[in-house]
Structure formats: structure tokens, C-alpha cells
Subunit: 68 residues, 2 copies
């Protein structure tokens, strides 16, 4: 298994949002996180960076969002 921990970077701090994340998909004006346990979480954020060997995924909040 190759899941990761998802952190939200806000005000220079990393907040753990979800452990054992499998998929992250764009959803409306944010992203939907899904863990290997079936847990779901929606965040108004985008994927900022990855450090996969360390099992870390970093998200950043979207306050405004372009229509891409």
C-alpha cells in the first residue's frame, strides 16, 4: 500500500487533514480526498506539492479560484 498523509499548509503551518489518503480529485471549487478506509473529505484547496517517499501530500487553501 502506498497511501499518504494529507496536510493543509496555512499561515506557514502544516495541519494534518487526513491519514492514509488514496485519491485526491478536483471537485467543484476544491478537492475531494478519499482514504483507503473509505473516509471522504472535501476541501476548498488545491494540491500544492508531494513528498511521496515520506508519504506526505501538501494542500494549499483556495480563497479565490480561477475557472480552470
Amino acid at each position: 500500500m502506498c497511501e499518504a498523509n494529507a496536510y493543509l499548509i496555512e499561515n506557514g503551518e502544516q495541519k494534518l487533514i487526513m491519514e492514509a489518503v488514496d485519491t485526491i480529485e478536483p471537485d467543484g471549487d476544491g478537492v475531494m480526498l478519499l482514504s483507503i478506509f473509505g473516509e471522504q473529505k472535501f476541501l476548498k484547496a488545491h494540491i500544492h506539492s508531494l513528498a511521496l517517499v515520506e508519504h506526505n501530500v501538501f494542500l494549499k487553501p483556495d480563497n479565490r479560484r480561477s475557472s480552470s
Copy 2:
């Protein structure tokens, strides 16, 4: 180890960009990919979605880019 394959989604197709990706970081108007073998690649793209259990990372090209 928990590296992934990075694919670029363009015109509805998935193109393998790099195998065994460890980190992806924002860099200028794109992202820098780094593999576990030390290979580096810059892409004018952003991280679109993740499927970590399947070891897949999907990127989408950035033709225009907001200043975030």
C-alpha cells in the same frame, strides 16, 4: 518506498512523464519533478489528481497561470 508514476493529461490522453517520482514542488510557472534516482524534470503544469494506491500522479498543463 512509495514513489509513483507521473502522467500528463493532455487532449484526453495520459502521457507518462516520469517513473518513480518522489517529490513534486511548485517552481516558477510550473512544477519540478524529482525521481528517487535523482532525475529532475520541469513541466509547465500543475498537479491535477492523485491515485496513490495505484502509484499514479496526474498533472495538467498550464497554458495560462494566475499569480498564486
